[in-house]
Symmetry: D2
């Protein structure tokens, strides 16, 4: 499979800021990525530093830079060949990704999740198949959360989304993540380029640990999972934001995202396990 | 310095649970730890598996085991010689530990933190010394949060603690963590054995990144920092809980914690940078 | 029917406070109340002022007084003969008691309530019978909220209770109130003396407007509704607290509540409409 | 003084709804109101029922009607002559308007309010002058809450507004209300027509009980208080919404508000007590 992805941001930087970007495709065995990241301020090139996550369990690349006042442009282009091998599951994955997180507040949801969708895995010693729990959670979120652009805030957590019954992709993914953790199933958020998504944008989906594999689910159903390309992986959107700034003042003035597959868009295999490749 | 620490838990396990323990002293250069962890069920020994955090930035050890019904006893004893060398600061530390987390919800606190305690680092390009911001935040939390046993819930975040004006050590640490991140300063939570703490218990404190060192603060002021021994390190209490269970049913029936220093308890150097040794 | 109710509070007033008491039986046609309210400070009698709610729709009596330092004792005794006639339904009742309130936060629950228990009244023009919606809501709360003493905080709202899956009588009543309002059915909270309640305490129940009558429900099922005696009526516990203080410092040192029926305790008629008499 | 006010709403009613309107000027001694309220569905007149609040303490008029599918138009016009006499303060006002309410969640804010702005009235027996507390609270809210159109949600409470540091007029009014109650000063919300407001809209302000008078404050400072005309009065925006619907589906398609004074707009007397006339 050949996939072409790109994103560009423009912003007015009013006073110097620390920038963190997560727009580059995650490195993975089996994936050949021919990429270019260009950052300019008033047309002059800037050189971001790439930070690697030291743990293999959350393959993410963060590009950081400090950037004075001016007109900022960020452009990322990548030609992605092949499919990523499954991400190795490390010893702590099952532990870390069952913990509550900022937007995946599974501890607040625990009682409701068990009453509504339980018992979840291992309630009485053996418990349910994580894949069955996963599918039940995804169906519940799909039914309960209407996809409504602009309906949510950056500070909304899974509890907020459940109450509002509406949200965008990150809200879907956070509620799936939180309900799964509340039911004892490790889950994490992945930001992706998603060919076929309309309108095109960065997308957020969920990886669920079933057996020894991170399987991929998307309760929005807005794009075929086999075509998706991983960007950042983490506990929730706090770990995967495409742009974070500290200090100073920056106003985003434009953003475009593009993701296409050579040839026909693959069909989403609704009933089988899917892996992010 | 010689320190002796121990903890013991007893619990009735009513149906099989997955247990995660974080009671063992973190490994560190300069620290010689002679330790023993014993877990028994109805008197018969169980063998937990030790999981290591792969990243050097958050030195934690998690002991996991699956445990059927019965009377559970956990006992950890360690004799700790020397002082830990400073934890290396990895490339992603400054990034990861400025992110909001479940109980360190710095994004919700951001506007209030800047209005109350700002501007924080780098507001206008250069900004304030992180050490000055740190000391201001610690003084604020010390003044605002009364230490009241039993006043908080396990699901309370920094915002809740700020509103209630009361809490225990983890609430102090979460509010310090969240305010610092909101002001652009990386901060994290550390669970410790704390000689001199009264009443004795597990303790939670905060590490703040100043320059290239993780400095140690404790707005409760309940125990001298130079005597503390690191257990687990993470974004907040979700990463450092001494006991987490999934599935099944477990009732904690008893817990004791002990931590002493050979000779005199060191005095807390209130005005200087302190490192967790 | 003859009912005898009483309550007593003792408190240490450390600095002068404004006190508001709602412990006296509400006036009602058909009810003959022979009562006595005694308030003393260090044994000397104090004279509270009785404030009447001007609107007939929320029959409540508030006794207010200002009280200097000392040992406060409040004692209320009443002999209640007869049964109260139905409370008149005024024009604004259906409007005011469908509004969200502090602890009956129906606006936050709206989407979830409709998805879970809807459509509620008049979704498509005619809608469901309010009595059917009421019974469905009561059954849901009974199933979802475990009665656990000490599990909730005074600041918890219906949303909090739903998430925790546990609470006391006021939490039950708040969740019933909030879900009903979210489904378009007016509902309000009533504090009562409840013969048969064990352990004996002040109790909180819900009145639901069905047709032109305020019907009485209690998802805790802890006491027979026909025996209950109304104290205060309002939007939620903010309107019905037995004791509220402003300024100063007061520490409650003791409280007893008593409520009995002459002869046999009536049986709760589980399937029929019940009115607070 | 002569004031002319009007408002109009247009909406598509997709399925039958219960409508509640609060757009009409409140009745008051001293105020001569020549008004007209017209409601049409697909051009045919509808006759709303006017509900009066039975208690004199919260002068509000609610117009209710049931309305089938079609294009709804509501138009209210009033010519207001004279100035309203002060609203009588009834016995329960000081009690009811110190209670926490849905959006004026003073109980959650209590500790922070006292620490930040306290002690408030009567902390140690005599306490502070309510007018001084009021002015301190208004100055605090003015400094802390930036007026940002579209920054808040209908479900936001005072706590949310304090944390976000931004909001619109109702958020300003809710935070003023909640902080005052937390400090022991009765306060309530009033919706008004506000000549001079730009851009013109319904406006929300706060009445604060000082001595025996409800004084008027507005931390937004966006319009002169002497020109304002009272619409609805209540605990918070739950009591004063210009439009509330139950059941069915209604989409607001347009709204205009107009309010002018004959002659020059009065100047806001920033330093003196002001009453809503």
């Amino acid at each position: 499979m050949q996939r072409t992805v790109s994103s560009s941001l423009t912003a007015d930087v009013l006073s110097p800021v620390d920038l963190e970007l997560q727009v580059a495709v995650a490195r993975a065995d089996g994936l050949d990525v021919d990429e270019r990241l260009e950052v300019t301020l008033d047309g002059a090139p800037l050189q971001p530093t790439e930070l690697d996550d030291p743990g293999p369990s959350t393959p993410s690349r963060v590009h950081v830079l400090r950037c004075g006042p001016g007109r900022l442009e960020v452009r990322y282009d990548a030609r992605v060949t092949g499919r990523a091998a499954p991400t190795p599951v490390t010893g702590l994955d099952a532990t870390v990704f069952r913990r509550p997180s900022r937007y995946g507040d599974s501890d607040r949801l625990a009682a409701l999740a068990v009453a509504q969708l339980g018992p979840g895995v291992r309630e009485d010693g053996e418990g349910e198949d994580p894949a069955v729990v996963r599918d039940r959670v995804v169906a519940f979120v799909r039914e309960r959360i209407a996809y409504v652009s602009g309906s949510s805030r950056g500070t909304d957590s899974a509890v907020d989304s459940l109450l509002m019954g509406a949200g965008v992709c990150r809200d879907h993914a956070h509620l799936v993540v939180a309900l799964l953790r509340a039911l004892g199933v490790p889950a994490r958020l992945v930001s992706v380029y998603a060919p076929g998504l309309a309108p095109m944008d960065f997308h957020a989906v969920t990886e669920v640990l079933v057996g020894e594999r991170w399987t991929l689910v998307d309760s929005t159903g807005l794009a075929p999972r086999p075509a998706m390309v991983r960007i950042a992986t983490g506990r929730d959107a706090a770990d995967t934001a495409f742009l974070t700034t500290y200090g100073g003042e920056l106003r985003l003035t434009g953003m475009t995202v593009l993701a296409v597959v050579d040839g026909d868009l693959p069909v989403d295999p609704t009933s089988d396990d899917v892996y992010l490749g």
